[in-house]
């Protein structure tokens, strides 16, 4: 199917700034869903609040634009009651990991079969460029005019520690790789997290003198490397891309079906 068959043209043009990486993620997501041949009515997109979260409304699936940080909790209620649906949760970094940090770790811990896509542009875009938990030390933002003294953390490490059974990272520069990661995540049975490093030229780029969108894409190309590459050995500062975790553990909905079976048998 052509891409336009997956979107709600009625609701375009989208709200994203020119050069924003979120449109790339939308494109990648649609192509993965097409490649997998998923039925549009079998997909639920649940998003929170922020630039990234508007992705839900543009897609012609069952879509839910929820509360800031809470998307995974809404998604849990949907998935547990309709386990046959593919539930995908696109989130921003602030949405997923500041206000939604607790929901994020507990969704990971439960290993419920939901795919979380963290579109990490290291800034709050919709409210005008405040620092996020992933901005990191020394970053300029509208709420860090003298540069941020907050440390960031690594989404992939957090997700792995919290119990996610599939964890991967890519960037909006590496679109084919990003597509592979999202595809694997959707096919994975269990809680999957894909961090897609994304560019916000309007706020992050401008405030941190990273140039325009193309410059920022090149920056992501030059500061990342595949997991286990030789380059990482020579330059430990490089951010690794690829699949960090891919393991099997009891999936939450299936495990609860066992609870129902035990309860019905009176045990």
């Amino acid at each position: 199917m052509p891409v336009k068959d997956y979107i709600r043209e009625r609701f375009f043009p989208h709200i994203w700034c020119s050069g924003c990486g979120h449109g790339t993620v939308l494109n990648v997501l649609i192509r993965v869903i097409e490649r997998l041949g998923l039925n549009k009515s079998d997909i639920v997109i649940v998003s929170g609040i922020g630039c990234s979260s508007r992705i839900a409304g543009y897609l012609d699936f069952h879509t839910m634009h929820t509360l800031h940080g809470r998307a995974l909790a809404f998604a849990t209620g949907i998935k547990l009651n309709r386990p046959e649906l593919n539930v995908i949760v696109p989130m921003g970094d602030g949405d997923a990991l500041a206000i939604g940090g607790n929901h994020f770790i507990h969704a990971a811990r439960r290993n419920i079969d939901i795919t979380a896509i963290v579109m990490n542009n290291r800034i709050y875009g919709m409210t005008g460029g405040q620092y996020s938990p992933l901005s990191g030390y020394g970053i300029f933002a509208s709420t860090a005019p003298y540069s941020s003294v907050d440390q960031s953390f690594d989404v992939a490490e957090l997700a792995a520690a919290a119990g996610a059974t599939f964890v991967a990272r890519s960037t909006t520069y590496h679109v084919n790789e990003a597509a592979q990661m999202i595809q694997k995540a959707i096919l994975h049975k269990g809680f999957s997290v894909v961090e897609i490093m994304s560019q916000c030229p309007t706020y992050f780029g401008r405030k941190n003198r990273q140039g325009d969108a193309v410059d920022m894409l090149k920056y992501m190309r030059d500061t990342t490397t595949p997991i286990g590459s030789g380059a990482k050995g020579q330059n430990p500062e490089l951010i690794e891309r690829g699949v960090f975790v891919n393991k099997e553990l009891p999936e939450y909905c299936s495990a609860y079906d066992e609870v129902i079976r035990h309860a019905m048998e009176g045990r």
Binding site: G57, D60, H62, T63, M64, L67, G77, L85, H103, M264
Partner: protein, 382 residues
């Protein structure tokens, strides 16, 4: 009959009511004094193939409920004061997105952590105005276990009829006290099932286009109609809009469906209201003490009466106005600093005849406490 007779806590009566109503999904977080509801449902729900989940907090609980409701489930959570505060965010979403759900608040003393194991009725106005923005809400309460059961069933019916969250405001005494409960037979109480859209696959379905009667037929997530749900002001497709006509129309719809329609059917009980010289207005466990005083006074030939409110919100102005018309004194009996008393004063003519008999120390108000107020009103000899 024997098999249907139980001796239970109020929290268990609520569980029985929810199961009778067809509860499919419960999400909650442990909190005193509501925890028994979660514990009992963790055991009971999977026996019928329904589902229970303990979430990471009450914020997540209400969100999970809303998601589950969209898949077609009848849903409920149960909490108490601090948890009810956390629920306000999701409650507003359920109001805006018009998602049927039932939220039980077994009230304890507040503010803050307050007094977890003791009774208060301090969340009455929080139920009305706890979530931000202009909105309408339905809140029900009960003073005995048979009514806890009935109001729980009613809450599900109202939630489904009006596509709205419904708050059940019980209190610690009702939640933990044990008394008899007779379970009605299946079919004895009429149930409202969700109104599903008749729009066929391939035809444009408008999830937020009310029918002529104001109702909005739903389509389950996972069904043939794919639509958007949002907490933003939205058009008939559920897509965000800041068009002033859309914003105005939606807010009026959200208010009207409760204030003009649901308000037509307030639930209440009345005892000797027709000729009452002194009319008590009370609810929840406080109403038990008020009724005790009324019965005793009537035995002495004195014209006391009780209007026991079961619908607290939308506030039953008309009923209160009508029932208080002939009373010389109106005494609101409640366990807070006068939350319903305030609404009563607004509803009645000559509000100077409205008095408050309350107790706010975490102890159930007693008939003696109420008698003291009567003595103040009527003078010595009472």
């Amino acid at each position: 009959m024997g098999g249907n007779l139980k001796f239970v806590q109020g929290n268990e009566a609520c569980v029985e009511g929810a199961l009778y109503a067809g509860l499919d999904f419960f999400a909650g977080y442990p909190i005193t004094p509501s925890t028994e509801i979660a514990e009992l449902l963790a055991s009971r729900l999977p026996k019928t193939g329904a589902k229970f989940i303990q979430m990471e907090d009450e914020i997540a609980s209400i969100c999970a409920l809303i998601g589950a409701s969209l898949t077609g489930c009848k849903v409920m959570t149960a909490t108490s004061g601090p948890g009810f505060s956390l629920i306000q965010e999701g409650l507003g979403y359920a109001i805006m997105a018009e998602i049927p759900c039932v939220i039980v608040n077994v009230q304890r003393g507040g503010p803050s952590t307050g007094i977890p194991t003791r009774v208060h009725q301090g969340d009455v106005n929080q139920a009305r105005w706890g979530t931000h923005g202009d909105h309408a809400i339905v809140a029900l309460t009960a003073s005995n276990h048979q009514d806890v059961f009935a109001m729980t069933v009613e809450a599900f019916n109202i939630a489904e009829t009006y596509r709205t969250p419904v708050v059940l405001l019980f209190d610690e005494v009702i939640g933990h006290m044990r008394e008899r409960l007779v379970l009605p037979e299946h079919g004895e109480i009429a149930m409202v099932e969700r109104l599903k859209t008749s729009v066929k696959e391939g035809v444009d379905y408008h999830p937020y286009l009310p029918r002529e009667d104001g109702r909005l037929p739903m389509s389950d997530f996972g069904g043939v109609h794919r639509y958007n749900v949002t907490g933003l002001y939205h058009d008939m497709w559920g897509f965000p809009s800041d068009d002033s006509d859309v914003v105005d129309g939606l807010l009026r719809h959200l208010m009207d469906k409760i204030e003009n329609q649901a308000a037509h059917f307030p639930k209440y009980r009345e005892f000797y209201t027709e000729d009452a010289d002194c009319l008590f207005i009370s609810y929840g466990s406080a109403a038990r003490s008020a009724r005790h005083v009324v019965e005793r006074r009537r035995r002495l030939g004195e014209r006391f009466g009780l209007l026991e409110l079961q619908t607290l919100w939308p506030f039953p102005h008309d009923i209160v106005k009508e029932k208080t018309a002939g009373a010389r004194y109106i005494v609101v009996v409640e366990m807070n600093t006068g939350q319903i008393c305030q609404s009563v004063r607004l509803a009645v003519s000559r509000p100077e005849r409205v008095f408050l008999a309350n107790r706010i120390d975490g102890v159930l108000i007693t008939p003696t406490d109420i008698q003291r107020v009567i003595r103040l009103i009527y003078g010595k000899g009472f």
